[in-house]
């Protein structure tokens, strides 16, 4: 994704997450504490503020966003999203490749940061699974030479598929891991959140037909 599209994509993701707050609360409520939507409402608000303030420099935008989320929405998902933004910002600064490659590098850096901070592995039914699916899809897009808007759309689809797949996975990290059976049959709240945000971002970036 070219840096100029980033504010647009982030704004769309924020709006979609705020709109899905009740659903995210509900999903987090099955095995967690039912507040993921509350956190995402704050994240969305913070994002709008940062977007209104910052220039369109992607690196600055992502680092400001990460810092603001860390300060204002320090729940598990908020802190990990903040880490993801900060790592992605760094990757963006160091990278001048083609859009889909840049996206892959940013998401890979985010995934690494989230794993280091949250100590979850793939298969633990956490954000790590969602980010992993996104990275896998972007890798394929790089290999296939897919255009960046389409790569984004496919990554959103992969995140959605992973969210659905988590329904059969037992949580092994976070609150949901205390009574893991309760989560079964419902998608992981954090993975659903990634899917919703990315789907909105991807839609916002599609060329007009």
């Amino acid at each position: 994704m070219p840096a100029t599209a980033l504010p647009h994509a982030l704004g769309a993701a924020a709006q979609a997450l705020a709109a899905s707050a009740p659903e995210l609360n509900r999903l987090d409520g099955f095995a967690g504490d039912g507040d993921l939507g509350v956190t995402m409402t704050v994240v969305a608000e913070v994002a709008q503020e940062v977007l209104a303030r910052e220039e369109a420099d992607g690196t600055r935008l992502l680092s400001s966003l990460g810092a603001a989320i860390a300060r204002r929405a320090p729940s598990t998902s908020g802190t990990l999203l903040a880490t993801a933004c900060l790592r992605a910002s760094q990757a963006l600064r160091d990278d001048q490749g083609a859009p889909v490659e840049v996206m892959l590098h940013c998401f890979s850096a985010a995934l690494e940061g989230v794993m280091a901070r949250g100590k979850a592995e793939p298969g633990d039914r956490t954000l790590v699974d969602g980010l992993n699916a996104i990275c896998g899809s972007l890798e394929r897009s790089v290999a296939d030479g897919t255009s960046w808007p389409l790569a984004l759309l496919e990554a959103a689809g992969a995140a959605q598929a992973m969210a659905e797949a988590t329904s059969n996975m037992e949580p092994r990290k976070g609150r949901a891991s205390w009574v893991p059976q309760r989560a079964l049959g419902h998608p992981d709240a954090g993975c659903s959140m990634l899917a919703i945000g990315l789907q909105a971002a991807a839609q916002a970036c599609q060329p007009l037909p």
Binding site: D33, G34, P74, S75, T76, R117, V179
Partner: protein, 331 residues
């Protein structure tokens, strides 16, 4: 919602304004959403820093005072404080003897406290962490380190705070607090859900006449749901699970905390304690000290938890040492 609030968004900050207006002689705020003892920093004393989500009063803020913690970082309702707040709290109460980070084992909190500890270290501030992880309903004994922290942490503040007040080193405070934590077990039962103001709806459904055994203090699911039992049955079930988890032996001594989750009258907590006491007696375990009341709530959730701390001689005297906080001592 049956709540006396204004904008849900400003709930925590308005609450903090109220706290500072009510207790200016005991508490001050050196940074946003950070409260410290009015007399902090105390030179040469190990500082105790805690924090966690709002909605649990008197936890966490209530345990800031003499013979207790020195600082608290206050999160949104049921949400961790930020690493920045924890760092500010650490700076404000540092007395040159290092700081104990004492809080409950939740991933949001551990990530933010760990980050704060790294940042504090860059500033030359030494910290060590002890986690409250007392809820036996949240993982089997073999994975005790994964357990979440609930009301039992109240007793850890008391132990750590008293030891620090005596002039102990950080290592000594950590040692005794870890020993206390190793013998601490809790479990609770919920009789109603609670509502996070910003969510506007109960976190979960729990119809009248049912109870959920082992529910967490943020409404995390418990180990069993079923028809509401009598206080005698609930109390015996909780006490037996706690005794078996450690496990206790005949002749052991224990401190007991029966905690109300919010809406349950203190009268009922005493009825529950009566059974817990009887079950402990059956097992040959002697109650040396008991506290009954609200020590860690979940907003307006109905229900209660029982915490047991196995005692050694030092622990009992630390638990009985003087302490004072405006939110704990009503007079």
């Amino acid at each position: 919602m049956r709540k006396l609030i204004n904008e849900p968004k400003s709930f925590v900050d308005e609450m903090l304004e109220g706290v500072l207006l009510a207790h200016p002689e005991s508490l001050r705020s050196p940074a946003r959403r950070v409260l410290v003892r009015a007399d902090a920093p105390r030179q040469g004393k190990v500082a105790i820093v805690t924090g966690g989500g709002s909605g649990h009063l008197p936890l966490f803020m209530g345990y800031v005072g003499q013979g207790l913690a020195d600082a608290v970082a206050v999160g949104d309702v049921f949400a961790s404080p930020s690493a920045e707040q924890v760092l500010e709290a650490t700076r404000a109460v540092d007395g040159g003897a290092g700081a104990l980070y004492l809080y409950g084992n939740y991933s949001g909190d551990t990530m933010n406290f760990d980050l704060a500890a790294e940042l504090a270290q860059l500033e030359g501030l030494e910290t060590t962490t002890v986690l409250g992880a007392d809820d036996v309903a949240s993982a089997p004994p073999a994975e005790a380190a994964r357990r979440r922290g609930v009301a039992g942490i109240a007793m850890l503040y008391k132990v750590a705070g008293a030891k620090a007040e005596l002039g102990a080193t950080l290592g000594q405070v950590v040692e005794v607090t870890e020993r206390a934590a190793a013998g601490l077990r809790s479990m609770g039962v919920a009789l109603s859900p609670c509502t996070v103001p910003a969510a506007g709806k109960p976190t979960f459904d729990l119809p009248e006449g049912e109870m959920e055994l082992g529910m967490g203090i943020h409404g995390e699911p418990g180990v069993a749901r079923g028809p509401l039992q009598s206080a005698a049955d609930v109390g015996a079930d909780l006490a037996r699970r706690l005794v078996a988890d450690l496990p206790y032996e005949r002749g052991d001594e224990v401190a007991v905390l029966v905690n109300g989750l919010g809406a349950t009258p203190v009268e009922e907590l005493y009825v529950l304690f009566r059974t817990v006491h009887a079950v402990l007696a059956e097992h040959g375990v002697q109650v040396r000290r008991a506290w009954v009341g609200e020590y860690a709530t979940s907003l307006e959730m109905a229900g209660a938890s029982v915490s047991l701390m196995r005692l050694g001689p030092e622990l009992l005297s630390l638990l009985e040492a003087p302490s004072r906080s405006p939110l704990l001592a009503r007079w």
